[in-house]
Symmetry: C2
Subunit: 218 residues, 2 copies
């Protein structure tokens, strides 16, 4: 077989690269609901992620009770203040940023690692954190599929995981790793919001690549 | 604006879902080299990943020295034996699985977290492991782009991170998280290799979804 037998068409490849390029970590949402069939497709995309030893360590809790949404918002607000304090000199600048869209997004999901993970040794004996890597791949699948569907997603990690686990009656050994704000948006940011807001600038790809040894430019 | 203003065309959406559905964790490769311009596009896709506080904590070491490739293979082989021993009753069954394609794949990359991560507090005060989540999203981008290009990728996590860090002269505080085998393949697996080999079966999406509270079916 030739090299290109498994290659997508040029148009298909362009679509995949488009989703990758235009995906943004969104914090601004319109309140319109997400159609159930689209939500289903997005969760299906997440569920097709790779996982270490095929352990599929992703769990998604869909939040529909508005009192729960309010409580999650309050938890994130608490951590936002604590993070601001920890940032010292940049405290005020941080507090001016919009860091979540929990109360306005159409759908709110919590992604979590399940209990009982210690049973899974395959690929995790020396790197137990590979379960988080798998959940992250699932969330990235969902994120890219959401972009293709015209929906924005924001991964919020400003919360005390124990407090959130307790709020959602999560068992000992499980752990929430993301509050995911999903929904329609007025517009996708033209660049990462933290760049547009002047918080920081992304670095060039060249700075991330080494050849055979750490620090040797590729 | 209407709901579908940001939505990709039907053909574009299908391409994104196709990449997600047909991506596989590959262990069988043909030795043909990966074209430099394709490798560049794949690394560019990785670099467009989301990251916590825009810290971009991904570093990629491209392995071109064949002695290094041999050493990495030896490290993985050591951990393969240790994992087999830890698996007890399933030891022999595990040893029959093909768990890496390090010596045959066209390109070998090591993905790593950099040193100095403690400086980044944004989104990590309570969840410092969010840097690994970001690297994982970058690898998933690369993986999906590779599938669109007709290339296979396998994420190998069977290694002692300290030994691999030492082999690649990595500084204290940095950490390798993936040995990535990338290259041409004869065929993509029709399902996850661990299912085809009878190691385990994937679970249904329904088992992964809860409503408002852990354990409540969605």
């Amino acid at each position: 077989m030739g090299h290109s037998d498994h290659c997508f068409s040029e148009a298909e490849r362009a679509a995949v690269y488009r989703a990758i390029a235009e995906r943004r970590d969104m914090r601004h949402f319109r309140p319109d609901p997400v159609a159930p069939e689209i939500l289903r497709r997005l969760l299906g995309a997440a569920h097709q992620a790779p996982s270490v030893g095929l352990m599929q360590p992703w769990r998604f809790i869909r939040i529909v009770r508005s009192d729960l949404r309010q409580c999650i918002h309050a938890l994130v607000e608490e951590e936002r203040q604590r993070t601001a304090a920890a940032l010292g000199a940049r405290q005020e600048e941080f507090l001016r940023l919009k860091v979540e869209g929990i109360l306005t997004c159409g759908e709110l999901l919590v992604a979590a690692l399940p209990d009982g993970r210690e049973r899974h040794i395959f690929g995790r004996r020396t790197l137990p954190e590979m379960d988080l890597a798998s959940v992250s791949c699932a969330i990235q699948n969902l994120w890219l599929a959401a972009r293709a569907e015209g929906l924005g997603l924001g991964w919020v990690s400003l919360f005390d995981p124990d407090a959130l686990a307790s709020l959602l009656a999560m068992p000992s050994g499980s752990k929430p790793v993301a509050v995911l704000c999903l929904g329609h948006v007025e517009a996708f940011y033209s660049a990462p919001m933290l760049e547009l807001e002047g918080w920081t600038q992304g670095r060039q790809l060249e700075d991330m690549l080494y050849l055979d040894e750490w620090g040797i430019p590729a």
